[in-house]
C-alpha cells in the first residue's frame, strides 16, 4: 500500500490548467532532461518523481489537497465539487500557468505557492483532478466531475454497494491514463451516503459548476474530478485493467506485468461483483502475459466439470431457462400438426431443456406425437457414456407421461464433424425436424470453414425450424483491446445480475421443505461465477483454435445465417409472455428485461442485452401468425382469468 500512496499522490496533481484569461487557455510545457533514480512505477505512467523525493511529494500533495479545500466534501465525498470553492479552483484553472506537470515536485511547489496567496477556505477533504501526461492545449480543468470523455464501452459497473450510483466509464485505449487520486483513500467506505454526493453551495453562482447528475454527459474536453472514496479506486481499477490490456496488445510486457500486480491490489479493495470481475480479468491477463514465457497450459476443462458448472449456472440464473423456454416455444409451434417429430440438439449436456417440451407435447390437443431426440455431445475423457445416461433419464420421464420416445446419442468432438447421413433423419414428409443450438455455434468460429460446414449440414437436414441461442456481445474482434473492453463490460453486467438473484438466497437457505442448506446457495453462486470465469479466461488468455468463446452479436449472426440461406422466424408473443413471467419469478426480477428485436427475443440486465434467442428456417420469411392456432398452449390471445 505504500506504493499506492505516492502513486495516488502523484496523480493527485492537477491536470491541465489553462493559461490565463484567454478564451482558450493554453498551457505551457517545458521539457526537462530525464532524471536518473526516477520511480519506476510512476515512470511507467508518465510521471517523473525521484524515489528520494517520494515522501516529500506525498506531503506536498496533502497540503495541496487541504489547500484546495472543501471541494466535494468530506472523506468519502461524492462526485461533484462545491460551488462554494469554485473561486479557488477556477483560479487554479484560469489564472495559473503550470509547467510540466509530470515533474511532480516542482509542480507541486508552484501550486502551493499559488494557493498560499488567495484566502484558504476551511480545509476539508481532498479533491483531485485527473492528469494527462501530455496536456492537450485546449483543456479546461475541472469542468466535469465525472467520467473522461471517450466513448463508453465499459459501462455500468455497479457500485450500488457503495451507494454512490452508477458511473459510466469510457474506454481510453490510447494511453495509460489513470484517474487522479486524492491523498486519503478510504477503502470500502460505504457510509458516505447520498448527502455527500450533493453539492454544497456556499457561493451559489459559478460559471463552471457542473451538476453531479450531469455525470452521464461529458463535454469532450472535460477533465474529471474524482473525490475521495472507494468508488474512485473502482475507477482506477477499471483504468488499470484497460491500461494493462493496452500494454499487452502493444507487447509491452514489463508495463503489463506491473499493471497486473496493481490490479490485484486494487481489486482487493473493492467488494461485490466488481471485485470478482476484476479478479477474473486480472487473472486472465496474467495468464496471457505469462503464457509467452511459460509453455501454454491446458486451459480446457474436463467436460464433466464444465457440465456441472453449467448446472449451477442453470439453477442460479434465469439465462438458460429463458433460452430453453423460448426455444421450446418456437419448436412447439413449428411442430404443430405433425405426428412424428425429431429434435436434434447440438449441445445435449444434461438435457434440461427437453422435459418441458415433452410435457407441452403431451398436453397438446390431439395428444402427443412420437418424439425422437438426437443428442450430440463431446467425447468424455473418462469414457463414461454421459449421453446415453441422459437419454435414459429422459426416456423415463417420457414413459411417465406417456410420450412415445426414441433417443440417440451422438459423440462428436466438433459439430463440423457431423454429416447429414449420420443423423438418420427420415424424409420431411414423414417427420418434422427441429435443430437446436444453445451456446454452441460460436465455438465453430475458432476454426475456419467450420461454421459454413455446419450451416450446410443443417440445411441438408431440411429442418422445420432451427433455434439458435447465443450471447449478445462481440467478443471476436481481432483487436485484443476491443475484445477486452467488450468482455469487461459484458461480464461486469453478468456478475451484477448474478449478485441480484443469487445474493438473496444467501440468507437462510430454502424456504420450503428444507431442501437446501444455508451455505449451498452461496456455493451455487460461486460455481456460477467460476463458470463465467472460465469463459473470461478463454476470451482473454487464449488465442487461435483454443479460443472457443467467440461470441458475436445478433446482427452478425443474422448476416451469417441470412447469407447461408436461412430466413428468420418470428417468435410469437406467447414466447415473450412466458419469458417475462419466468423472469419475474427470479429474485432479482426487476433487473431483468426481455426485449423483442425484430422477431428475436433478448434477455438482458437493465439496459444491456445479454443473450438472444432466434429462430430460423430455410426459405422465405414466415411469422408464427401464419400458423393456424392449434392448441390452447400457444394461442397468442390475451389470457383470460
Amino acid at each position: 500500500m505504500k506504493r499506492e500512496h505516492p502513486d495516488s499522490g502523484g496523480s493527485g496533481s492537477g491536470g491541465d490548467f489553462s493559461a490565463p484569461a484567454a478564451a482558450n487557455g493554453k498551457s505551457k510545457c517545458m521539457e526537462e532532461p530525464p532524471d536518473a533514480g526516477v520511480d519506476e512505477l510512476l515512470a511507467a505512467l508518465g510521471y517523473k518523481v525521484r524515489s528520494s523525493e517520494m515522501a516529500d511529494v506525498a506531503q506536498k500533495l496533502e497540503q495541496l489537497e487541504m489547500a484546495m479545500g472543501g471541494i466535494g466534501g468530506g472523506g468519502g465525498g461524492g462526485l461533484g465539487f462545491c460551488g462554494g470553492d469554485e473561486g479557488v479552483v477556477s483560479h487554479l484553472a484560469m489564472d495559473t500557468v503550470h509547467y510540466n506537470p509530470s515533474d511532480l515536485s516542482t509542480w507541486l511547489e508552484s501550486m502551493l505557492s499559488e494557493l498560499n496567496a488567495p484566502p484558504l477556505p476551511p480545509p476539508s477533504a481532498s479533491s483531485t483532478a485527473s492528469n494527462h501526461p501530455p496536456p492537450p492545449p485546449t483543456e479546461i480543468l475541472l469542468d466535469d466531475p465525472l467520467a473522461p470523455a471517450e466513448s463508453s464501452t465499459v459501462a455500468t459497473v455497479d457500485f450500488s454497494h457503495n451507494r454512490h450510483g452508477h458511473q459510466i466509464y469510457t474506454s481510453c485505449p490510447s494511453d495509460y491514463e489513470l484517474k487522479a487520486i486524492p491523498g486519503r483513500i478510504v477503502y470500502g467506505s460505504d457510509d458516505s451516503g447520498p448527502d455527500k454526493k450533493r453539492v454544497k453551495p456556499s457561493k451559489p453562482s459559478s460559471a463552471t459548476t457542473v451538476d453531479p447528475p450531469a455525470a452521464t454527459s461529458s463535454s469532450s474536453t472535460a477533465r474529471p474530478v474524482v473525490l475521495v472514496d472507494s468508488q474512485e479506486t473502482g475507477i482506477r481499477l477499471v483504468h488499470t485493467l484497460m491500461a494493462c490490456a493496452e500494454a499487452v496488445q502493444q507487447e509491452n510486457l514489463k508495463a503489463a506485468d506491473a499493471l497486473v500486480k496493481q490490479i490485484s491490489l486494487l481489486a482487493a479493495s473493492q467488494g461485490g461483483p466488481m471485485r470478482k470481475v476484476a479478479t477474473y480479468f486480472g487473472d486472465a491477463l496474467a495468464r496471457r502475459i505469462y503464457r509467452r514465457i511459460y509453455p501454454s497450459e491446458d486451459l480446457s476443462l474436463d467436460w464433466a466439470f464444465s457440465d456441472a458448472l453449467q448446472m449451477h449456472f442453470y439453477e442460479t440464473c434465469p439465462y438458460l431457462k429463458f433460452a430453453h423456454f423460448t426455444a421450446n416455444q418456437a419448436i412447439l409451434e413449428a411442430f404443430a400438426g405433425h405426428s412424428m417429430v425429431h429434435v436434434i440438439d447440438f449441445g445435449m449436456k444434461q438435457g434440461m431443456q427437453w422435459p418441458a417440451l415433452m410435457q407441452a407435447l403431451a398436453l397438446r390437443p390431439g395428444g402427443p406425437p412420437s418424439f425422437r431426440l438426437t443428442g450430440i455431445g463431446p467425447p468424455q475423457p473418462d469414457n463414461s457414456d454421459a449421453l446415453q445416461q441422459v437419454g435414459w433419464k429422459l426416456a423415463q420421464l417420457a414413459e411417465t407421461i406417456h410420450v412415445e420416445f426414441e433417443y440417440r446419442g451422438f459423440v462428436a468432438s466438433s459439430l463440423a464433424d457431423l454429416e447429414p447421413y449420420m443423423l438418420d433423419v427420415r424424409p420431411s414428409e414423414v417427420e418434422a425436424i427441429a435443430v437446436n443450438s444453445v451456446f454452441e455455434l460460436h465455438r465453430l468460429l475458432a476454426r475456419p470453414g467450420a461454421i459454413d460446414k455446419v450451416m450446410n449440414t443443417v440445411k441438408a437436414l431440411k429442418p422445420k425450424i432451427f433455434t439458435v441461442v447465443e450471447q449478445e456481445a462481440n467478443h471476436n474482434s481481432p483487436v485484443f483491446v476491443e475484445r477486452f473492453n467488450e468482455s469487461l463490460h459484458y461480464y461486469s453486467t453478468m456478475f451484477d445480475s448474478i449478485e441480484g438473484c443469487g445474493g438473496v438466497a444467501a440468507n437462510g437457505g430454502g424456504g420450503g421443505g428444507g431442501s437446501l442448506s444455508p451455505g449451498s446457495n452461496n456455493q451455487d453462486q460461486v460455481m456460477t461465477e467460476v463458470y463465467l470465469g472460465q469463459q473470461i479466461y478463454n476470451v482473454v488468455a487464449c488465442e487461435g483454435a483454443d479460443r472457443v468463446e467467440r461470441h458475436e452479436t445478433l446482427m452478425q449472426w443474422r448476416d451469417r445465417l441470412g447469407s447461408a440461406g436461412y430466413a428468420p422466424v418470428h417468435l410469437g408473443s406467447n414466447a415473450f409472455k412466458q419469458a417475462s413471467m419466468l423472469l419475474a419469478l427470479f429474485a432479482g426480477g426487476d433487473g431483468y428485461r426481455v426485449e423483442e428485436n425484430d422477431g428475436c427475443l433478448m434477455l438482458g440486465w437493465h439496459t444491456r442485452p445479454l443473450i438472444t434467442t432466434s429462430a430460423w428456417q430455410i426459405g422465405r420469411t414466415r411469422t408464427s401468425d401464419d400458423e393456424p392456432p392449434i392448441s390452447g398452449l400457444t394461442r397468442p390471445e390475451s389470457d383470460s382469468p
Binding site: 423456454f325 423415463q396 406417456h402 438473496v504 430454502g510 390452447g632 398452449l633
Partner: protein, 170 residues
C-alpha cells in the same frame, strides 16, 4: 378407513348421547365424508392446508388429489382444445396436483401476483409456466436430484427462497 369407521361409531354414540341431551344438535359434517369433500373442493390453497390440520378425516380428504385438482382447474377453466382427462393423467403421472400446486403454482402465483397487482384469477400463461417448471421438477426427482420427495428439486429451489426487497440506490 378402518379407524375412520371406528371413530365414526364412537362419534355417533357420542352424538346420540348429545342428541338426547340436547335435541337441537343435529347433523355434523363429519357424518358425511362425501359432503365434506364437496365443500372442500371449493376451498383455496391456504384454506386447504388449514383444513388438513383439523382432524384425521379432514386430513384424509385434503390429501386426495382431486381436491387440489379442483383448485387448479377452477380458475383456469377449460384450456381450449386441451383434453382435461389427458391433462389429469399427465399431471398425476408427474407427481400429482397437490405437488404441482405447492411446488409450482403457489410460488408462481405469489410472485407474479405481487408484481401485477391483485389479480383475482390465474392466467393460462401462469399455468403453462407452472407446468413447464413442474416437468423439470419431475425429471430431476426421477433421477434422484434434489432433496427427495418433499422439497422442490434443485432447479426449482429458486422459487422457494425468501425474496427480500432490496433497495438498490443508484
Amino acid at each position: 378407513m378402518q379407524t375412520n369407521k371406528e371413530e365414526n361409531k364412537k362419534n355417533n354414540k357420542k352424538k346420540k348421547k348429545r342428541k338426547e341431551e340436547n335435541p337441537h344438535l343435529g347433523f355434523t359434517i363429519n357424518d358425511n365424508p362425501d359432503l365434506l369433500m364437496e365443500v372442500l373442493h371449493r376451498l383455496d390453497g391456504r384454506s386447504l392446508g388449514v383444513a388438513a390440520c383439523v382432524c384425521k378425516l379432514w386430513n384424509s380428504v385434503c390429501t386426495t388429489d382431486s381436491v387440489w385438482e379442483a383448485l387448479c382447474n377452477r380458475h383456469v377453466g377449460r384450456m381450449d382444445g386441451c383434453d382435461d382427462g389427458g391433462r389429469s393423467a399427465v399431471v398425476a403421472a408427474m407427481g400429482g396436483y397437490k405437488r404441482l400446486y405447492t411446488v409450482c403454482i403457489r410460488p408462481v402465483r405469489t410472485r407474479l401476483g405481487n408484481r401485477v397487482g391483485n389479480r383475482a384469477g390465474w392466467t393460462r400463461g401462469e399455468i403453462q409456466l407452472s407446468l413447464s417448471l413442474f416437468s423439470i421438477d419431475c425429471y430431476e426427482r426421477l433421477n434422484g436430484l434434489g432433496s427427495g420427495s418433499v422439497g422442490p428439486s434443485s432447479s426449482l429451489a429458486f422459487l422457494h427462497e425468501p425474496v427480500n426487497v432490496r433497495i438498490i440506490m443508484y
